[in-house]
């Protein structure tokens, strides 16, 4: 049975929702932007008229205003986006049980069924498109294909409010001429390497020598080449209903760039405390600590390292994060945003192997201490008890569970946590 997979992408999601709620602004260029005061003043999403004048996501507000003087800047309403994301998923859910969300506004839907052909897939995709438009008042573009990768490419091809079919018959004409950077998981670094070997399009990658790619890019290279050939057999995971948490993380864009190790240290403590508290809330502990850094040119990287034991102690997470920064950051550029994430999770209730070479008692005491701190904060507020190191640094942002912080962490985790 041939797989039929849809990838649905809600068009300029944040901006569409804002325009729905405010009919007066619908035909003007609109950009949804973070707050300038908190230095989140970049374009998060833009509507079609703003797209026409060349406004790009990630630009600063002043840059965008140079392109369109009449640009309307509206603040984001995350609660609305969450609601619309869920409503859309509910609609997808009426067509298939296998719906895999990819962020808030994208999802794969596996509608394979014995006897169903890709042209039936096209019909269903059109139905979904119509329903989203009628019931939610926003538009969706859908890619229909025989694997997840091509479906995602398809949803990007025709926008907004459109359906694109990439079948076994036409994928060579439709997919292969595309820039290789369009392929999922080909980032800036990989694209640069491929360019150096004169691999510019997805077709070039598909026809490149398998051994050469493997030698140069390793296992990932083979996978990417398979993607280009349409040999992607990964399943649409039904992550909607089983909410297994794979990682918990927080990231922040502080009001000031982080320039010194001291800044990083303080931010690590703030983030790790929030991460550790949420690990405890979910009854989890983790072993792998990941950091995420993005510099002032918005170029980012991630590094990870293992702890000796599973932990939900903020101090241990913070120290690991700091040592990862020390090993990987060379102070060449100020850091714009910084995140800490813990993965490789296990239940905090299970038995643990204690070591005779370590003072385990001390760890238990620290753990108890952190639980006590949680209780104090719950009763008397987040600032009732704090690390001395954080006393003068409220500017690093309140990371209590407001929706904005939650959103950032969802995107940081591509929707894995929560």
């Amino acid at each position: 049975m041939e797989s039929i997979i849809l990838h649905a992408d809600l068009n300029s999601f944040y901006a569409s929702v804002e325009c729905l709620y405010n009919p007066a602004i619908r035909n003007l260029p609109v950009a949804v932007c973070g707050s300038v005061e908190n230095r989140h003043g970049i374009v998060l999403a833009k509507n079609q008229p703003a797209k026409m004048v060349g406004i790009k996501t990630g630009e600063a507000i002043w840059q965008a205003k140079l392109k369109a003087a009449n640009l309307l800047v509206v603040p984001p309403h995350y609660d609305r986006y969450l609601r619309f994301g869920n409503l859309a998923r509910k609609i997808y859910g009426t067509y298939s049980q296998r719906v895999e969300p990819f962020g808030m506004d994208e999802a794969w839907i596996d509608i394979s069924f014995p006897g169903r052909s890709i042209s039936d897939g096209y019909e269903i995709a059109n139905q979904i498109r119509e329903r989203i438009k009628f019931e939610l008042g926003i538009t969706v573009s859908i890619g229909v294909s025989f694997n997840k990768i091509f479906a995602k490419l398809g949803s990007d091809m025709k926008k907004p409010d459109a359906v694109t079919v990439i079948s076994r018959e036409n994928y060579k004409e439709k997919v292969w001429p595309l820039d290789v950077g369009e392929l999922l998981y080909v980032g800036r670094a990989t694209k640069r390497k491929l360019r150096n070997w004169n691999i510019n399009t997805i077709g070039d990658l598909a026809q490149a020598d398998a051994l050469f790619i493997r030698n140069k890019l390793g296992k990932c290279g083979t996978i990417l080449k398979d993607y280009a050939l349409g040999n992607d057999y990964s399943q649409v995971e039904n992550t909607e209903h089983e909410t297994i948490i794979k990682s918990i993380g927080n990231s922040t864009t502080p009001p000031k760039d982080l320039c010194s190790l001291e800044d990083i240290r303080i931010t690590s403590f703030v983030l790790s405390e929030s991460v550790a508290r949420r690990l405890r809330e979910h009854g989890l502990k983790g072993k792998t600590v990941q950091i995420y850094m993005r510099d002032c040119d918005l170029e980012g990287f991630e590094r990870q390292g293992q702890l000796k034991d599973y932990t939900n102690i903020s101090t241990e997470i913070a120290h690991k994060a700091i040592s990862l920064v020390e090993a990987n950051w060379f102070f060449n550029k100020p850091i714009r945003s910084f995140g800490v994430r813990v993965s490789d999770l296990t239940s905090s209730k299970g038995p643990i192997q204690i070591s005779i070479f370590k003072e385990e008692n001390k760890r238990f005491k620290v753990m108890d201490l952190e639980y006590s701190i949680d209780t104090i904060r719950k009763r008397y507020g987040p600032y009732a008890i704090q690390r001395a190191a954080l006393m003068q640094t409220r500017q690093f942002g309140d990371l209590s569970d407001n929706t904005e912080a939650l959103m950032r962490e969802v995107s940081f985790n591509t929707g894995e946590a929560r």
Binding site: L20, Y21, P23, G137, I138
Partner: protein
């Protein structure tokens, strides 16, 4: 364009809950206190209100001989009110 401009207006609604959990709006209270009885419900479906800006369960109702949409969005009811009414008050 101008004659069909609508404003989202939240209203008080008296609702009858049926045994199966579904809701039927019985009457709407306008802001001047006047109560309009819903004579008939012609259609119920999920829909967006592009005119007023919102989305939810849309009830197509017959009130005093005219057809009107009433929307139930999350936990509130709204109607698409004609924009020129603003000057009337």
């Amino acid at each position: 364009m101008t004659e069909d401009k609508r404003i989202k207006e939240y209203v008080n609604v008296t609702v009858k809950f049926k045994k199966d959990g579904s809701m039927i709006p019985v009457s709407i209270e306008w802001e001047n206190g006047k109560v309009y009885t819903v004579d008939r419900i012609l259609d119920v479906r999920n829909a967006a209100s592009l005119k007023a800006g919102g989305c939810g369960m849309r009830y197509l109702c017959k009130i005093m001989g005219t057809q009107t949409y009433i929307f139930f969005e999350e936990d509130k009811w709204f109607v698409e009110r004609k924009a020129q009414c603003v000057e009337d008050f």
